[in-house]
């Protein structure tokens, strides 16, 4: 998982399979960077994700809450169609910008 921080935009490049097991390390790393860098925007990039269950939704929901508390907006990009379908079941589109 790579993370870049440029011009107030923190981009988290998620990779591999996202499930309840793997999401823990991803969220800890993302939250550490969020709190440390205090960006204006957090981008969660799913283009390197090969599998995702509803833990991916929890990952976005949790980061949305952390980011909102810091006054930071959240964008999600690079979702495969089936993963977008899972995200859309959650109603997250009301809170998070999907690209």
């Amino acid at each position: 998982m790579d993370i870049t921080n440029e011009n107030g935009i923190l981009t988290v490049y998620l990779t591999g399979e996202i499930d309840h097991h793997s999401a823990r390390a991803m969220r800890e790393r993302a939250d550490t960077e969020l709190v440390k860098r205090r960006p204006k925007t957090l981008i969660l990039d799913f283009s390197g994700v090969s599998f995702m269950d509803s833990s991916g939704v929890g990952l976005v929901m949790g980061r949305y809450k952390t980011a909102a508390a810091l006054g930071c907006g959240v964008q999600v990009r690079g979702l495969r169609p089936r993963d977008r379908r899972i995200m859309e079941l959650s109603g997250l589109k009301k809170l998070v910008a999907f690209q």
Binding site: E17, D19, H20, H21, S22, A23, R27, F51, D53, S54, S55, V57, G58, L59, M61, G62, K65, R82, R85, I86, L89, S90, G91
Partner: protein
């Protein structure tokens, strides 16, 4: 409906086994020559069911997860995922979208996703005795494409 193949898998309720259980079940389902999409559906539904066993049924305690999968003539795949954990007091409530008892990092979509990616889902549960989820998927396979 004639059963043509089956497998049984018993694993400890450890989160590292989430990936293993969906990969093993997908390998079994692959014997019916499904499409990539059908295989992904099976993996997603199994991942949700096994995660429920780990997060909800056993929580912080040790336990076993029992996976029985069977393939029937015509391409019907049935996967039963059973635990002997705490059980679900109100199955209808647990199946509601966005309902969760597990805190901010869980979406409450487990059963919704299982329903969405399977053709039939049955849930039987008894408090203090455990839960059995049966996922049915009709694999039309590459031959139907």
């Amino acid at each position: 409906m004639q059963k043509i193949n089956f497998m049984k898998l018993t694993i400890p309720a450890k989160s590292v086994n989430e990936g293993f259980s969906r990969a093993a079940t997908a390998a079994f389902a692959a014997l019916a020559d499904p499409t990539v999409e059908e295989l992904s559906d099976v993996k997603t539904a199994v991942s949700e069911a096994v995660t429920n066993c780990i997060v909800h049924a056993y929580g912080e305690t040790d336990g076993l997860i029992y996976i029985d999968a069977a393939l029937y003539e015509g391409g019907t795949l049935k996967i039963r995922i059973k635990d002997r954990g705490c059980g679900i007091p109100d199955v209808a409530k647990a199946r509601e979208a966005l309902y969760t008892t597990a805190g901010d990092e869980r979406s409450g979509l487990g059963f919704t996703v299982m329903e969405s990616f399977s053709d039939k889902l049955s849930v039987r549960s008894a408090v203090g005795r455990g839960t059995a989820v049966t996922i049915t998927k009709f694999l039309k396979g590459k031959a139907a494409k």
